[in-house]
Subunit: 461 residues, 3 copies
């Protein structure tokens, strides 16, 4: 008896340890987003986007502490089969809340608003940024998280009576995190419009080719990409939430492996496909760094949903397709004249949707069981394999995608129009020309001085 109690005591400590460190790694993704985003844009707005990224960690913490966590998970009742829209307890971390889970989830919420920051860089006002960032972390994301992961969420696989006997499979949030952020970015980009000169010249005529704007530092972009990949080893494996048994250890290990293979396959397929397509047009073999980096990130986004329930080979395939998804989506939004300064819409919205879908295709019965999901409905390919064609799991996954898309568009569009109406959304044309570092942040991000040659020669004598 006492031994059992001691055991549980120890286990609780270990799981706290696990979530704290995984949460720290997820927080590290803020560094990654900041560097990727800063590297991707023009030099004149570097301070601006870096500040945004710091503030959305800070604002995200405030928003998720005050409201977000309570809306997402407050008052969860696993014993009840009732579904709720949002939670309603634990505002400001009052009551008996699970601190390590708050910490882990706070880092998720921050990631979400960093996704949007990239897309709308170089033309959005600070005020709008702050408003939407608190709104996203405090309300939009929590509703998604509640639906997917709360014990009373209507899509949740962890509910007492999950939707259609199974509920959605999305371990770490291709849907509620990445796709939600990507959709918000899309809405913002549409309402805000493109950067001046991106698609049109000064007289308003359409340019033949969109004018490239950035990246001003590919080194920062790669720094960010590596940092994100690294942080994903907290994001995905940490999402098992517990690690106190061989089974949980096996699941977390599979997650780490799938995360790796998804990223790798995405990078390879993104880059080589772009090389082949380019060669057909120009006859020269070139290797596009952006395609490699964003292919990699799209692979990571896509494997996030199914990393615990698909086999490694399927993880690789999901990443492979993710690379193509990225290239196609990126070309599509460019054709639609949607200006996305860091290609976050293709990476997170399209990649996230593909990830949720792919989980419905590839989820393996053994892996599902180990990861604690109901196994009444399998991934579609496995249903085929046993000759059933049962589309239930796929159906749930598709509903989940539609829900995230619908919810985010419906709530975020009016919000953006309010900001626009208040004139809080877009900066002045002259400010855009000069850059926000000078207009709002007291000067450029980089300062060089010429060497005092006279002093140098004096020194040498």
């Amino acid at each position: 008896e006492q031994a059992q109690q001691q055991r549980e005591d120890l286990i609780s400590g270990i799981n706290s340890f696990y979530l704290i460190f995984a949460g720290a790694l997820v927080f590290f993704m803020q560094l990654g987003f900041a560097m990727l985003c800063a590297g991707s844009i023009r030099e004149k707005n570097v301070k601006n986007v870096l500040l945004w990224n710091l503030l959305d960690s800070a604002g995200g913490a405030f928003g998720f502490w005050s409201l977000g966590y309570a809306f997402a998970y407050g008052g969860d009742d696993p014993t009840s089969s009732q579904k709720t829209f949002i939670g309603n307890a634990g505002f400001f971390l009052t009551g008996d809340t699970d601190m390590e889970f708050w910490f882990f989830q706070f880092a998720f919420a921050c990631a979400l608003s960093s996704i949007v920051a990239g897309t709308i860089a170089e033309r959005c006002q600070m005020m709008a940024y702050l408003c939407y960032s608190i709104f996203l972390c405090g309300f939009v994301y929590p509703v998604c998280a509640h639906a997917f992961w709360s014990a009373n969420g209507f899509l949740s696989a962890f509910a007492k009576e999950p939707l259609w006997g199974t509920g959605v499979i999305d371990l770490a949030g291709s849907g509620p995190v990445h796709m939600c952020g990507g959709v918000a970015a899309l809405v913002m980009a549409l309402v805000l419009g493109p950067r001046r000169g991106r698609f049109h010249d000064d007289d308003g005529n359409v340019l033949e080719e969109p004018k490239p704007m950035g990246p001003h530092s590919v080194a920062l972009q790669f720094l960010g990409t590596f940092a994100l990949w690294f942080g994903w080893y907290g994001f995905n494996p940490g999402s098992t939430l517990k690690i106190h048994s061989a089974q949980l250890g096996d699941v977390a290990s599979l997650v780490a492996v799938n995360t790796t293979l998804g990223a790798a396959a995405g990078a390879l397929s993104g880059m080589f496909t772009s090389t082949i397509l380019d060669e057909r047009k120009t006859g020269v073999y070139t290797f596009d760094t952006t395609a490699a980096m964003n292919g990699c990130l799209t692979g990571l986004v896509a494997i996030t949903a199914g990393c615990a329930t698909v086999e490694p080979w399927a993880g690789f395939v999901i990443g492979l397709v993710a690379g193509w998804v990225y290239l196609g989506a990126s070309a599509l939004i460019l054709r639609l004249k949607i200006d996305d300064a860091v290609d976050a819409i293709p990476v997170h919205m399209f990649g996230g949707a593909w990830g949720v879908l792919a989980t419905g295709l590839f989820s393996n019965p053994n892996r599902m069981r180990l990861a604690g999901y109901a196994t009444g409905n399998l991934g579609w390919f496995y249903e085929w394999g046993r000759g059933s064609g049962n589309f239930t799991l796929m159906g749930i996954q598709i509903c989940s995608i539609l829900f995230v898309f619908g919810w985010t568009v419906c709530i975020f569009t009016p919000f953006c129009y309010v900001l626009k109406f208040l004139n809080w959304l877009r900066i002045d044309p002259i400010e855009e020309e000069v850059g926000m570092d000078i207009s709002r942040h007291k000067g450029s991000a980089y300062q060089s001085e010429d060497t005092n040659e006279k002093a140098v020669s004096e020194l040498n004598t």
Copy 2:
């Protein structure tokens, strides 16, 4: 019996694991300090300060291995109520020393000397730097750590008979680490004097406004800030030292949450307060990246002492005030014509002192009990709450601040004057003009080459 032994065996392994990883995260702060510091100064001394930051990891390891650890914790005797000034066993890690604790504490010692590096950048000789860095890690810091944390320290809460029944509450070192480093930085800055041209023109007349010197790269500054925030999740949660029970897990989780809220509140209050103050003067809304970053760091420094014993709301309040402390202190030292190249004095000295003080105000009885502190004397506000006005804990905290300040000033001032007397302290004016990268490090930190346009056109044909 055997089960109990097996349990302890397992626990010991887990706690080693915990400290090794937490220590690695603390070590990561060296990367953060290096990048923050390099970004904050002028281009011509970048190699110099980066090298300093590497050398203080190396020199700190040497100093803490040879002497520091033995002085800080060597020969601790928890069964004795005797107080000692310094320890006296375990030099060079001989004897039965606790390796993982050495590793964790080594990283703390390095952080301390990196704090000073920032302040005195661009004008201090390498020799002085090396001497003070070994002196700090090998002697000044260990004495502080001994007083605060050793079982025989006179301020220690972990002593058999702690001071006034309670001892100082400083979980992770707002006092012995940050404030000690900040005071050392202040002493150095005073003895060394400001950079040439910072407050005076060439004829020695006082400038109306101090001349801005840097930052040369805001991207590196933000990189450093994010890295420090991340590393703090090793610094603070790791300072519970153990994680083998639900209670320890809860404490460590609270620490992670408070660390987050302190940082967030500091960033928000630092930046917005500076925005409001600026707007009053100039009529334009600007957003100061330095105020945001240093506000954030001051929040982190301030929450370090009380992160295990205050409620989340208090953590947020401590961070909020920390932002103001930073702005006030930064304006103050500028007015006093103290030249601090990275504002480490406001962040670490003032922030650290505020943190120790705030712990005396906000420490909550429940949290204190969980974290293993005596609960005879509570935070002053809680004493008020129960109508007592007992000032004991506050008194201890104030004494601790005075001790750190007094000790560091008294031991470090003569040390600096000796260096000055030996002419090892300050570089030549001509070297200062040229920059130390050219004078001492074989050339500039950045090298650009012009593209060979002829070759490009040849390539394209």
Copy 3:
């Protein structure tokens, strides 16, 4: 009974946790290699080497997933005393494979191919890079790893009947990882030849002094160095593979301490020795950042083999000597006109060889026992100490060095010549002149724009 089972279950989870996080830290070294390498070269090839570093994570994952892991550890049979050359099961992670161990080892394989990337930067074709990177991760490294670490490896200390009763002591891979990578870099550098203009002028006359080529950003170099040092705390402590007992915890802690002291000593001896040597020649005290950084890395490489079996003082000595090894080897390869863009050959090949050797000198009986090695043959100095002069362990270590060198040279040389013969190896002279960022990657890594002064003045009015 049941308690014992529960205990093992818990232990299994904890060890998975340990390897996942250690593996993530090792993966972080990819960021370090990328930044170090990018900083060390000329601006015109920055995108190229960064892309290489991303692709070798991706290609390495593919190579190690498809073939490498199976060759290295597939079908290990600890009960058999048979020695095998390579493994033969678990291709594509099929069968009952140990996912967390795959993940940890995948990160090692990536590190290996990043080592080579640095050396051959600025002149090697993308095609060659991809081929060798998959070849290294998929075949060359696995054979080394099998020999050193598999239960059926002929050098392995973990075999049922290890070589000469002991087997090689190389905890984390000074030999199979670093030296193997360094030798591959040497072979590539020899077959590929130096960068144009490095040792000869345009007419083919030998230059008096090699022309310096880079570093273009010392800030990136330091960023990479700190990141690598940090990642090493996953590389070395993680190599205990388990952490579920006091004994394992003690070993891992010693490893962390030795890693620290090795790095510190390497940095100090590398830099100060170079300062003294320079002063003798020029009469001026200069402090070489490259010597400090590479001394530090060589210290880390060297301590990697013996970090679990030597005392801290020996760890410091090993690092100290590593600094000299670096300086000597670096001067040597320069004299031999071998062009190594990041000095990876001195750091990893020479440093790795010294590390394996030093382990044969300094391995301490107590530490060997704790770390689970047979103690029939001790480090040579300890054999001396007990008056025996038994050279067995040293002999094994020397054989291991010869094996890694011989194997890598024999298999990699023909491979490189095949690439050369296919004309896949070296880029065109004109491409080399222009830089690969323009010729193959669509433009420079950095883009600056001039500020629109007219708009600025308009803004200010």
